[in-house]
Symmetry: C2
Subunit: 424 residues, 2 copies
């Protein structure tokens, strides 16, 4: 790559770091003023934004993107209103910065406050959804972090128009415009430079397909918080309530099959499978789900005259993101736990049972970001958890796990007050 | 490297992952039983351990290590007793695993518990201090994590003897011996394999010199929690109490100059420097400290006839780890903040002032893991903070910042209890 491009990316990161100091101590009212201004600008600038978006849509059509892909790229006045509303919602959320998380007084009189502070500079690497630009920018701003945005080439013109608006909103609130910057190229070389700037950027959050996330994780010297998608499991225990079992399984599988907290795998206890599986399978089939079964499950489905395929080894750890589900029989809750810990992606799992001890065992031993008892995996979500906003659902274990809201975009520091203490 | 070696390292990691599931739900009493057994074994096995240690000491002598280096490698019966005592102390600490960090009930009735859980499998990469083997192993065990230890070649025989003891202690408590494993080679190729096993190992903690930590950070696809050393600053405000200023600066600089929370840089407010700097400088010089000064500080020290050198640009961001300190004059607290945020390593800083508003401004704006007011930087330490144990002091912002005790070796998961909730 050209030295000039590398220098340009480095300068952006240096400016972001400088802006991050101002943002870290900016009062809540000032950050909210920028957000409120942005909420006003979004509909006001709709003509400009939609004109920029049209350049991306024309290119998308020329490049043969599918209608569904093009729809995801498209801005409309309604979608801009919806974005403005989400900006106002983030403005209304409590400011996570500055909270005293714990305060202790030591025997020598030192008062130690663990105080929540912004992380610093956050890089967001994403693909083609224009709302990610605004969502991530406003969450970083509210949590006092400078943001560097690097979106996909499919929405480059849209993002450039958004970036101008974001700078305008920041300036209107007397905050540095460099607090939110867009990398002004989608050149892969610029991304490679960015991912090595570990002295200036403190955290990278990739949003998009698994390929993008793996590329970022493998090429970054900056810590990456990964948001992989989910291979989520439902386990129907021998003490499952059949009505709950059907309702929850159908909801977790079909309510929105293309998202990470949708269920992909169904495990049924052998003792009750002969009656419970046909009942739940009928409900799934009625909801349009294609079933692929292991040997024992297939035998039960065949006896019940229910249509099904045979699950391949890949099916038994697949993320279908579609109306398809793999079914297997397990011999005990511990067997279910072992198979889930081996084959799931550690995202969201649920046990359906009336037996509290079995549920407790399952919830303790299943190593996933959220483990549900008698509820749908679809609830593993920042809004459903009451966070008010989320930047994604972390599949990592370090820093943040599961839904990431504003507090999860923060670090902490120790603020220690003494009266002259020295160490002996 | 040979495929065989790569396979061997992978097998160790697979066994560690399997053991981590058992450890994650192991009762406190069982983990403590292993620790108590280890505390008994350490002195009981002292002959074996000291014999193994002698092999390392002989090699160290043959390789021309310095007396100080050899001393750090050396095990004695007294040091083993001391290690056993630290094992007992960790056994006595509260178990961090399983605590409910927050519990909320949602409007739909879902009860969401954020529960502290072990991270999983932790890799510790370190150099030549044999106590690190035991310290890290017991902290991982108590926090329910499986540990993979990779120590330096200088203590390979000692570590091998320790590893056998650790396995014995685990087995005595009916815990899997694979919960704590030593990589049985110091071949760099084995380390490179280890650092890529991101499906099996969840966190790497490198302990040692900056070169080792950088190597690990740059070659790992596993998240790394870095423990770099510190360029720590003391700022003497215009409202500093002169007696406190001298006492704290001398303590922070000289009480143990070779450690990461020792002070390296002294900043003095211009308004009071003419009288305050000579006073503090005299105390430092009396304590054996060599001063290197910027232009303005040098002029004041010259006028006061106090010996000093001229600080180079490198000196003004140096970690001396010795009885040497750089001195500069600043024009305001904001000037001090800007210089500290630019030149420190973000580890530990202190302001000396009687002005509460200035202290608050400094503590809010300085971006370091611990920011002290009227106290020595030497207190940035897990034991001094009351954590009871520490695995190190993180210079990262993600996951853990500052002293890392047992809770910081944990992640969390959401345990959600419902009554049949589905998502609409």
């Amino acid at each position: 790559m050209s030295d000039e491009l590398a220098q340009q990316v480095t300068t952006i990161a240096q400016q972001a770091r400088a802006a991050s100091y101002a943002l870290a101590t900016a009062p809540t009212a000032q950050k909210n003023a920028a957000l409120e201004h942005l909420a006003t600008l979004l509909p006001a600038a709709s003509e400009r934004l939609i004109a920029a978006n049209k350049l991306d849509l024309d290119a998308a059509e020329a490049n043969g993107l599918t209608a569904a892909q093009i729809d995801r790229l498209t801005l409309t006045p309604e979608r801009l209103d919806h974005l403005a509303e989400s900006v106002r919602q983030v403005a209304a959320l409590p400011d996570p910065v500055g909270a005293a998380l714990e305060t202790t007084t030591r025997p020598n009189g030192l008062v130690i406050e663990k105080r929540r502070v912004p992380i610093g500079v956050i890089g967001i690497i994403y693909e083609a959804r224009p709302n990610v630009t605004i969502d991530c920018a406003i969450l970083c701003l509210k949590s006092g972090n400078a943001a560097i945005l690097r979106g996909g080439k499919e929405i480059f013109h849209t993002n450039t128009a958004f970036a101008a608006l974001l700078a305008e909103a920041l300036a209107a609130a007397d905050l540095p415009a460099e607090a939110i910057q867009l990398i002004p190229t989608t050149d892969r070389a610029a991304l490679n430079t960015l991912l090595k700037l570990d002295e200036l950027i403190h955290c990278i959050i990739p949003r998009g397909g698994e390929g993008l996330i793996r590329f970022v994780a493998q090429n970054s010297t900056i810590p990456v918080i990964k948001h992989y998608t989910g291979v989520c499991c439902i386990y129907l225990d021998k003490a499952a309530d059949p009505t709950l079992a059907s309702a929850i399984t159908v909801n977790a599988k079909t309510q929105r099959p293309g998202v990470c907290n949708a269920a992909e795998q169904l495990l049924v206890h052998a003792d009750v499978a002969a009656t419970l599986l046909p009942q739940v399978a009928s409900a799934l089939i009625e909801a349009g789900v294609e079933l692929v079964a292991d040997g024992r499950a297939a035998a039960i489905l065949s006896t019940a005259n229910l249509p099904h395929g045979i699950a391949s080894d890949e099916d038994l750890r697949a993320e279908f993101l579609a109306l398809k589900m793999a079914v297997r029989i397990v011999d005990s809750v511990d067997d279910a736990i072992a198979q889930i810990n081996r084959d799931s992606s550690g995202h969201s799992e649920s046990i359906i049972t009336t037996d509290a001890a079995t549920a407790a065992r399952f919830q303790a031993a299943v190593d996933s970001s959220a483990v549900f008892w008698n509820a749908s995996t679809r609830f593993n979500d920042g809004f459903e958890f009451g966070f008010g906003a989320e930047i994604g659902i972390s599949t990592d274990r370090l820093h943040a796990r599961g839904p990431m809201g504003l507090p999860e975009l923060c670090s902490y520091k120790y603020v220690v007050t003494g009266t002259g203490q020295t160490r002996g």
